[in-house]
Amino acid sequence: MTPPVRLSALAAAAFAVSLGAPRAAKAQANDAGADAGALIACDQLPNAVDPDASIPPVVYIEGSTGSQPFVTQLQQVLSSDEDPINLVYVGDGSCVGTSNFFGGQQINTNALSPPPSPTYYTGPSGTAQHCAIPSGQVTDIAVSDVYAPSCGNLPGGVLPPNIADFPGPVQPMLFAVPKASDQLSISANAAYFVFGFGAGSGVAPWTVNASIYRRDPTSGTQALLSVATGIPLTQWAGVDATLLPVNITDKLSGTSAVVNALEMDPNPEQAIAIFSATNLDVTKVSVLAYKDRDQACGYYPDSSPTARDKANVRDGHYALWGPIHFFTNVDSTGTPVNHNVQRILNYVTGTLPAPDGLDLVQIEAVANLVPECAMRVKRMVEMGPLVSFAVPSCGCYFDYVATGQSACQTCAKQSDCPASAPVCNTNYPKAFCETQ
């Protein structure tokens, strides 16, 4: 059993920051055009607590923007930890990040429009700052919304033995419509026609190509949904929302651009979009229930449109999800060759509690992610078959932080718990009797 995690003021601050993630993402995008020539080199960042101390080790992480909510919290905490790491993040998209990493290419901060700037933090209350990537620097961790083969950029189609995939929290992917739309659900086959044929979908009311919003082939969201629907990754109909003039003007990229386009569409009944749940703002859009090909009915990610429990993701009723993947170089035993990378991966995979009381389960719940310890099913390949995932060890606590309550029994010690849920999990700020 790992030591208890305390709910500190730091965790509370992190919670508050995570609530403002969409605004933070926009601010970062607006800063993306910073003059690299005036920036400090990312490998020369000082110790955030003691500027006179030696320069802390730096770890680079590149790829999915879906990981940003909890990577940001880790950046803040690790920068001022007693054993500090300067974690530099570049959110250039799942398939861009993995392509660079698999190919041994330098982190490319100009790959997208607007280009993402490398960000770092100096302490838990700091704001994002930018640094310059040293010439030739390859990322230490590539983070992706999808398995390695799904982007189509993996040489040979399989991971080489010196690279391993460490799965992190589960991320649902969504079909969504404007709040003013009357549409409630979509099936896998309907999605195939709408996003594969656009104006020729034959699925009313989604027959206006200009109101069908998608990402691009470098997007993990689009890559996962390609596998789910059967639409080839490069043959999606609709419009790449990041290329819309309004989004270019506002420097909105990725999911933020899709959500903005959906929200502003003048014909809400005809509008539909894809994006990851990490960026979901339920005040702006409505999530559609999804009926997979082997299902008789469609389900929301949550038990209802207004719930926050991710019940249907966790038990296999909602099909559109996958873990966030962290790829890194490993030795012959599968251990990361960089011990600072290993330390970070231990945090994001839940192997070790995050430092300084950082409550990643809570942060992930707020960001619409599900830690592996709250899942009841798992899959080993993209949209692959579901298998039972032992018994969740943090399901009760996840319910508590995601919904505000849990029906599970609280406890202070093992003997407080019934035989049906015998484990008093004290790893979190509130202990519940869990089944494992």
């Binding site: 659900s185 190509n209 038990s303 019940a311």
Partner: protein, 143 residues
């Protein structure tokens, strides 16, 4: 055992069906461990078994399940049919009432969650054989 629904006539039979549904629901909760794993949320309080609805427009109203609809497609008076293939379920009110071990069983397991059907007859370009036509080249898909 047929997965198709059968209309059940008569008040007595309806009561029997209600009892069977209730039993199946309890079975689901027990099998899935929901008894000690219930998710609580004020907005969900009182959501009935599956809150499955007859059409999409009714979904937000949370209508009650069809009392004549056996949870696994079997006769309402039968025990759950654990050999039923959920991929053959055609009615949204059908669900798999045993411990799920395969993807179709997980995806169709009885649950307290709301579900919303999608009427695939809306797919006007779906060929009669149900096969999906190839996606056209990207430029041809736009207006």
């Amino acid at each position: 055992m047929s997965p198709r629904l059968r209309a059940v006539g008569g008040f007595g039979l309806a009561l029997a069906a209600l009892f069977a549904i209730g039993t199946a629901t309890a079975a689901c909760n027990t099998i899935l461990g929901l008894g000690d794993y219930v998710v609580g949320h004020p907005a969900d309080a009182g959501v009935p078994f599956d809150a499955q609805v007859g059409d999409e427009a009714d979904a937000s109203m949370g209508s009650t399940p069809d009392a004549t609809a056996p949870s696994d497609g079997s006769s309402a008076s039968d025990a759950p049919n654990c050999d039923a293939d959920p991929r053959t379920f055609t009615d949204p009110s059908q669900c798999y009432a045993c411990a799920p071990t395969t993807s179709p069983q997980f995806a169709n397991a009885c649950t307290n969650s709301m579900c919303v059907p999608f009427d695939d007859t809306r797919l006007t370009n779906l060929p009669a054989d149900g096969g999906l036509p190839p996606v056209p080249p990207k430029d041809a898909a736009s207006e």
